[in-house]
Symmetry: C2
Subunit: 162 residues, 2 copies
């Protein structure tokens, strides 16, 4: 199947948000998506976009997306982080996910990034096999830590007198 991969336009973001919701269901956290279409548009298409997004479409229908942005490694310097790579269920196994990843890595290389990073659930064996097959290292001893909005407020109340 042939897909077109191109930078997302504002008109694509409703489809992108649909894919974000689909992934949240797959990751067993359907209630966790707080971002709105308005916020995605404001954050991605202003003067200082907070992210870059590619979409993959077939016959004009968007079936996948990749969203990424710069990070900064104190070891390597500027790097690229792939926040989400999502392919809608009906299009899995068609090569679209692979094509999106390739475009992200090509883009990162063009920017001179010393690394592309992302995160994976440790029970997502097909994804891990795919990434490792492509030369990525799953850093199993590194865990992600989150202090959420409620935690931020509680922290500041307890430790900063706010």
């Amino acid at each position: 199947m042939n897909y077109t991969i191109r930078p997302a336009r504002e008109a694509d973001m409703a489809d992108v948000l649909r894919l974000i919701h689909e992934l949240a269901v797959f990751e067993k956290e359907p209630e966790a998506v707080e971002v709105t279409l308005e916020q995605l548009l404001a954050d991605g298409f202003g003067e200082s976009p907070k992210y870059s997004c590619l979409v993959g479409s077939h016959n004009g229908v968007i079936a996948g997306m990749a969203l990424f942005y710069p990070r900064y490694s104190t070891w390597k310097g500027p790097v690229i982080h792939l926040e989400d790579l999502i392919v809608t269920e009906s299009a899995r196994g068609t090569g679209l996910g692979s094509a999106l990843l390739t475009e992200v890595i090509r883009h990162a290389a063009g920017l001179g990034a010393k690394r592309v990073s992302w995160e994976v659930l440790d029970w997502n064996d097909p994804a891990i096999a795919f990434y490792e097959g492509r030369g990525a290292h799953v850093m199993r001893e590194w865990n992600v830590v989150h202090l959420d909005k409620k935690g931020i407020a509680a922290y500041l109340k307890d430790y900063a007198g706010i």
Copy 2:
């Protein structure tokens, strides 16, 4: 002990790089630090800084740092990522690390960030206990994935014909 915590100035960055090296030794990867003082200065103090940095000093001597930057969550919107929080060995246990973390979280709250994230080694029990005691969630099922510079080049050669 009383520390002063303030935004890093250009003149502090040699000390910041010293702390980065010290952490790399602790994390058993002393050879991994490729970033130079020149790059830290260019990336952090230009018109579009790629990171923010706080330093903690006592009697004018820098004993700790915290380096952070914005990220973008497709579930929450703009968030803050704490890349490194380092306290020099002789100053551990003095409360400086805690004070630096508090300042980062205060800063993130001021920006309206919906989350502060960071990464921790799963064998670093004292750090994990500290973070969890402060209300953070260690997402043990989420692993970090890296495609390094060599991996980027190999990937593009194999899959993108570059």
